[in-house]
């Protein structure tokens, strides 16, 4: 089981976070520190979570999303998700994120939307 890392990509004022294959507590443990650093050093108005590589997620992923959502809400920014499979959507819905965060099929739509 190789270490899975988050890939961060800046698209103008949008921060795209490419999530790993498995989003759990272990893989999420550095995300807060890393995103806080990126948000402090860059002017970011939107975070897009790209789930296109993700096959597993537990409630740790909900915690991460919810916290980023609150963070962006405080600064007047937005959060969107893209590329989520049926399984990930089910987990998001059960975790109460279904209506909170807009979903897009492609990353381009999520950045533009």
């Amino acid at each position: 089981m190789a270490e899975q890392e988050f890939l961060y990509e800046a698209k103008g004022q949008v921060l795209v976070i490419h999530l790993p294959k498995e989003v759990d507590h272990h893989n999420c443990r550095n995300l807060k520190y890393e995103t806080d650093l990126l948000l402090a050093e860059n002017y970011i108005t939107k975070i897009v979570f790209d789930f296109s590589e993700t096959v597993f997620m537990d409630s740790s992923g909900i915690g991460v999303l919810l916290n980023r959502y609150k963070q962006m809400e405080r600064s007047g920014g937005k959060v969107a998700i893209c590329g989520a499979s049926a399984r990930i959507l089910r987990v998001l819905t059960i975790g109460g994120m279904g209506k909170l965060v807009p979903r897009y099929n492609s990353m381009e739509e999520a950045i533009a939307g």
């Binding site: 507590h25 915690g63 916290n67 059960i94």
Partner: protein, 192 residues
């Protein structure tokens, strides 16, 4: 035509049919001999009732380390694959196991050393998963099981762990007390 064959088998084949199941074979041991058809029916009834169904158990001990969250859920998924579950059922069980093991790592042992005990039992179509730690325990179990309740101060935890276990399994029981560790028992019927 088929009826004729049945009649034919009845008239001259009944004694042969009875000896198809060899004497002393497991299925026939207790109550004498069975025809193949009776033996299959008995086996299916047993699976249905859960009474005489085959019982298999997996026992694991893992160290309380966050990287074992993935190991535990994958090992359990491989073990239950012999029940021929759907992909959704596998993912449901994996998620529930991940939640319970993560709770043990973060809350039970609070990031310190400890052993997490995992026991998975398959009996017929019934799956039981027990996950136990000998950590700090929970003072108020109903409170801990409320959605969004968390003692975590980082803000990164959703407080949805027990809610997820309840959403993805049929039954969840939690036995815990301060200083006594936490024992989570979850059940799910595979292939409904």
């Amino acid at each position: 035509m088929s009826q004729e064959i049945n009649e034919d088998m009845k008239s001259k084949g009944s004694s042969q049919m009875e000896t198809i199941w060899p004497e002393g074979a497991d299925m026939g041991k207790q109550e004498g001999r069975y025809t193949m058809k009776q033996a299959i029916k008995k086996w299916e009834d047993g699976r249905e009732a859960g009474g005489e169904a085959e019982r298999e158990t997996l026992r694991m001990e893992v160290e309380s380390k966050s990287r074992n969250e993935e190991f535990a859920r994958v090992a359990v998924a491989v073990f239950i694959s012999r029940l021929d579950p759907t992909l959704e059922e596998i993912d449901d069980v994996k998620t529930a196991v991940s939640e319970a093991v993560t709770n043990a790592v973060i809350h039970g042992y609070g990031g310190k050393e400890g052993i997490i005990y995992i026991q998975v039992t398959i009996e017929g179509r019934e799956l039981s998963v027990e996950i136990e730690d000998r950590g700090v325990g929970i003072a108020d179990v109903p409170k801990a099981m409320e959605p969004m309740f968390t003692t975590d101060l980082s803000g990164e935890r959703s407080g949805m762990g027990f809610s997820f276990m309840e959403a993805f399994m049929d039954e969840v029981k939690v036995v815990s007390a301060p200083g006594q560790g936490t024992h989570v028992l979850m059940k799910k019927r595979i292939g409904r």
